[in-house]
Symmetry: none
Subunit: 144 residues, 4 copies
C-alpha cells in the first residue's frame, strides 16, 4: 500500500495568493494553475486581462511540473535538437510543456503538486510561480 502526500485546497490557495501578489506587483495579469501530485487541477485563477491561450498553457505547465516532477524550464534546457530529450515538448498529446513557468511543489522532500503560470514572458511566469512557492513556504514555516 502507498501513502501519498497531496496538496490540499487550502495550501493550493496560498500558492495562488503568492503568485497573484507578485503578478500585481509587476503589472501582468496572469493565469495561475495549481494541480496535485497526479496532475489533476485543484485551483485556477485568471486575473482580469489574463490571456485566453494561457488558461490552457498554465494548466499544462502545472501538469508537467507535478506529473513529471520537473520544472518546465529544466525540460526546456534539455529540449534542444541533438540532445536525446529533444521532442519531449510534443509528448502526452502536446500537454508536456517546455516553456518556463511551471514548478513542482515540494513539501518535506515530497512533490505534492505543481504550479503553472502563463500570460507574461517565461521569465515573468517563472518569477510568479516562484513567488507562489515562497509564499506557501513562509506560511508553512510560520505555522511550525
Amino acid at each position: 500500500m502507498l501513502t501519498i502526500k497531496r496538496l490540499s485546497l487550502e495550501l493550493a490557495e496560498l500558492l495562488v495568493e503568492g503568485a497573484k501578489q507578485r503578478a500585481t506587483e509587476i503589472g501582468v495579469p496572469m493565469c495561475i494553475s495549481v494541480v496535485d501530485e497526479s496532475g489533476t487541477p485543484i485551483t485556477f485563477t485568471r486575473m482580469n486581462g489574463g490571456k485566453v491561450t494561457s488558461a490552457t498553457i498554465a494548466l499544462d505547465k502545472a501538469y508537467t511540473a507535478a506529473a513529471a516532477r520537473k520544472a518546465t524550464h529544466e525540460y526546456n534546457h534539455a529540449c534542444v535538437p541533438g540532445n536525446l530529450a529533444f521532442g519531449i515538448h510534443t509528448e502526452v498529446g502536446g500537454r508536456l510543456s517546455t516553456v518556463g513557468g511551471g514548478l513542482p511543489v515540494a513539501i518535506d522532500g515530497d512533490i505534492v503538486g505543481g504550479i503553472g503560470i502563463s500570460s507574461g514572458t517565461p521569465d515573468q511566469d517563472m518569477d510568479c510561480a516562484q513567488a507562489g512557492i515562497d509564499h506557501l513556504n513562509s506560511a508553512l514555516q510560520a505555522r511550525s
Copy 2:
C-alpha cells in the same frame, strides 16, 4: 464594433463562494468551474475530495451553459432519442454537456458567463450551481 459584458474575477469568486457553501452544507466536496461569456475559464476550485473526472466535467458544464446560453439540464430534456436535438451531447468534441449542473450567469439580461458543478448527483450539482448564482445576486443587490 460590439460591446460585450463579461464576468470579472471578483464576481466569479462570489459564484464559487456560494456554491462552496452549499456543497459544504450538503456534505459533498464539489468541483466548481466558472467561465466567461465565451467559455474561457475564469476560476476553478476542486474541494478536498472532489472527483478527478469532475475537474473536466465541471468545466464542460460551465462552458456549455455560457457558450450556448442554456442550462445543461435544458439540453438534457431535449436530448432524447427521436428528438431532432438528439446527439447534441457528443458535439464540440464531446465538450457540450447535457448533464445537469451547468447554468448560464445573467446580469441585467446579458449572459456574462457560466457556472458548472460536478462530483455529486445531477440534482446536487444543480443545487450548488443555483446557490452560487443566488449568492452572486444577493451580493449585487446589497451593492446597489
Copy 3:
C-alpha cells in the same frame, strides 16, 4: 481518373446569403458553415450574437451532410436505440452530427458540398439551411 464537381466560393456565398436572409427574418443570429464535397470548409459566417458552441456545431453539420451525403436530420431519425445505426452520433471523433440543420447541396444530381446551421432550435436551423439551398437554386435557374 475521376472528375469531381465542387462548390465554388461564389456559389457557397449564395448559400450563406440565403440562410442569412432567413435568419434575419426569424430573428435568430445564426452560425452558417458551407463545406465542399470532401467536407473541407469553404466559408463560414457567425452573425452578431451567434452562439460560441455553434461555430463548431455548424461546421460539423455541414461536414456530415457533405461528407456522408445525407441530411443530419435523416441520421437523427435513424439514430434511435435498438436501430442498427444507433451510435453513429459519436463516430468520426464525434464530428458526425445527428442534430437537424445540416443539408447536402446537390447540383444536377451531384452532391457538391454541404451547409450547416446552428444557434436556433433544430427546426429553425433546418429552415435556414433550406433557405440557403433555395436561394442558390433560384440564382442558378435565373442564370440558365
Copy 4:
C-alpha cells in the same frame, strides 16, 4: 463586471475583403480566417484553390493572434531552441501557431480580434493579413 470590445461581423468582413484583394493581386488563393477577441470564429473564406490544410492553419493563426494578443511571427522569433519560450508551438493542443500570417486586430488600443491567413509562403500570408488590417483601418478612418 468587465466591458469588452469585440469585432462585429461587418468589420470582420472588411478584413477579409482587404486580404482577398491582396491575395488576388499576388495570385495566391488564400484561406482567410477572422476571430473575435476570445478566439471564436467570426468569418472564414477559402478562395477557390486554397489549400485544405490551410483551412485549419488560418483558423489557428487567427486564434493565436487574438487569444494571445501577439502576432504569430513574433512567437516564431521567440520559439528557438535554447530560448525559454521554445515549445510554445505545440501548446493548446497544437493550436498555438508560430507560423507567420496571424495578426491581432487592434482598434483604439484594444485587441478586438485576430486575422489568420494560410496557403502561401509565410511572407505572403503576413502580407495579406496586413492588407486586411490596412483595409479595415482605411474604412474606419473614412467613417470618422
